[in-house]
Symmetry: C2
Subunit: 423 residues, 2 copies
């Protein structure tokens, strides 16, 4: 991929209404564009990051046996009336068709997935089951802020599990917590489990996963010994860890996932039961598990950046290497350097390494380096007359202060080895 | 994947309001569920087919240099007012936020992509460019019919290209026609290019791609010699081929793709120009290219089925093989047959072949065979005491009348070979 061919270039400044660090860097780096407040377009570099995040989520969902489905975004009013949430959820976008039918735009999918599962789950033999989707959600936020952290339209993985007993649910809930930790770790994030309120979803306690950042929306009190915390919204006065009694550290966090014990709240609303081994109808127990996929990209940027730009973890970087060509004025040297860059790109391509090639001739090397830092691909490779003279190319990691000249083959081999580690 | 674990089973009957063959078979086969008229949920088997179709589309879009983006579904009213389509497009769903902002739900994305491209395309050096997305579209249809062929909410690949000159556009348009032919061929469809009206998109002529089926919504007149046709909606009286003068055959077709010469219709509306080599501002020329991805799945079913069910082309089949176990009553034989099925599943898995295992004990072999025919995976493998006695398993292709007993290794090797051909 040549930088010059890329749809969506870097930009010097973000609009003033994009206040957050993630919004500014994703906008300036050419990952997103803002169509309206809280409504973003994902550009090719952004789509690549999102795809890598989504793949990690899919792999971990598959690991806990959840099956992918795609539910609709248009939800007929009847579904939301059955649970009483049509009038109660204030962020619900509502619309009417030409023929007078009323719909909500899916803000979450309990209302759809519960009657869906009811069609297929009849007996204890059909349980447990878990389904998930990666789906656009809509929320009529009064004020959309925080870049891609809180949009009116955003990507979310939502998973729903169905169980015969509380014991089975609790066991699966623990498996899901492990899957969640793995998702966040693989995305380069340290997320802390935090007890919180269930919001509109349930009266039971829920868990949130938070990434600590100075810009976090939520105030948390965390026990570093137990790696667990509490959201002050439900326990404003709690000063000590409920497990070990130790002191709690106050911090701020970005919520990147949540898990809810919704028990029989939704199954009960539509009388969704299964027949147990004795032939008796029993209520189906449910769990619900969300990860904001577009929000996760924002959280990664909040956690991994410096003054020059983004520092993507290798696991979610849009490409594995950023090749910058220092184009010489001298015609003969120019041919040699451009040829070496092309050779390097071929070698990388054959080795299965995706790289961005910046061989712009109308742009200064300084500006190209600044763009590379802003975009934040983990490895920068500089092809220059000087480096070729020293027998190689200059490799600089995004998080290192200095680079070093290495033979091309060594560089390619190191990237192949790194790719093996992150996959 | 065990059939018993699958979310979404086969069903004897489809609701009466699902009239079309594709809707009935996709519903009965456990590929989709109907949430409301024209609004479908894609179940795990359906998601697999859709993913395979989308992958083919992505590969062919990449082959013509189109880059993937994701535009929003919520379109602020201002965008649609600028082109005068807010009031003119009757299928536009409209809604208002709590704070009084008006949005359309994206029925197509010219209004969004044109100002987006304007942000990045300034000079002739920035041209040509092409972007696409695979995106949910919304249309407020008065009557949603035809199964997944005409929904109120559906998946679509829409691509937009930007050019400096008409010549460059026309050249790219021809490349896109080739890409379209490849997409349809790879999906197992014979699609005919048909001249049609541009609808709400353009006053210029557009091309449609149609798959001939008895259930097609459109009436076409086709020249078999030139492999080109005309939609009667624009040429009701045309009786001869405009190219060779030969007779036209009247038939019906399902539209699976369309390509539009939108020229400067949308760029002109927002004064989107580029600077040419002489420094003069020139209008940007645009093309627009759609493929209904969910509709494509429906068209494949309309073209590939028989009375017993679907007959998926291997390239888009949800899984490569359907393993049916004839479970013996005798305990000793039962252990041997179940063990052989497990061994086969392991062999297939190691060879990278995804298979569905139907080892239900409470279901008759006849019912399992009927489900296999309905679901329509191209290869059925029967593991039974009888076949084991004959030294193998029984292999039957979905489109063959009879099966034959072959050694397990031969079967696995044939599937590996077939996989190589379709990828």
């Amino acid at each position: 991929m040549r930088y010059a061919d890329l749809f969506g270039a870097t930009r010097r400044e973000a609009p003033r209404d994009i206040e957050s660090i993630n919004g500014q860097l994703l906008y300036r780096g050419g990952f997103v564009d803002q169509t309206a407040a809280g409504i973003y377009t994902w550009l090719p570099l952004g789509v690549r990051v999102l795809e890598r995040v989504e793949r990690i989520v899919r792999e971990e969902m598959a690991a806990v046996g959840a099956q992918e489905i795609i539910m609709p975004k248009l939800h007929p009013k009847e579904y939301w009336e059955q649970t009483g949430r049509w009038d109660r959820v204030d962020v619900l976008f509502k619309l009417e068709s030409r023929t007078g039918k009323s719909y909500a735009l899916g803000a979450s999918h309990e209302e759809i997935v519960t009657p869906l599962a009811q069609k297929f789950i009849h007996s204890y033999r059909d349980l447990p089951k878990a389904v998930y989707q990666i789906q656009t959600k809509f929320r009529d936020e009064l004020r959309a802020k925080g870049g891609v952290l809180r949009g009116r339209e955003f990507g979310m993985k939502d998973c729903y599990s169905f169980h015969a007993t509380r014991e089975d649910f609790l066991q699966y809930y623990d498996q899901m917590l492990v899957a969640y930790r793995r998702v966040f770790e693989r995305c380069g994030l340290t997320a802390t489990r935090v007890r919180a309120s269930g919001g509109d979803f349930t009266e039971n306690i829920s868990d949130e996963f938070h990434v600590e950042t100075p810009s976090g929306e939520d105030t948390l009190r965390i026990c570093d010994a137990c790696r667990i915390g509490v959201n002050v919204e439900i326990a404003a006065t709690q000063q000590a860890c409920s497990t070990c009694g130790g002191a709690l550290r106050e911090t701020t966090g970005i919520e990147v996932g949540n898990t809810f014990d919704i028990d029989t709240k939704y199954s009960g609303a539509i009388n969704f039961t299964y027949t147990d081994e004795a032939g008796v109808a029993q209520p189906v127990i449910m769990g619900c598990y969300g990860i904001g996929t577009t929000r996760l990209v924002g959280a990664i940027v909040e956690a991994h950046h410096d003054e020059a730009g983004i520092r993507w973890p290798a696991s979610v970087a849009p490409l594995a290497a950023h090749v910058v060509v220092v184009v010489p004025r001298d015609a003969e040297k120019r041919v040699r350097v451009m040829g070496a860059a092309q050779d390097l790109m071929s070698q990388l391509s054959h080795a299965g390494i995706e790289a961005l090639l910046d061989d712009r001739e109308d742009t200064s090397t300084g500006a190209k380096f600044a763009d590379a830092d802003l975009i934040g691909i983990p490895v920068r490779i500089v092809v220059s007359d000087r480096a070729l003279g020293e027998g190689g190319v200059e490799v600089k990691y995004r998080d290192a202060a200095e680079g070093s000249v290495q033979p091309r083959e060594t560089v390619v081999a190191a990237l192949v080895e790194a790719k093996g580690r992150t996959h």
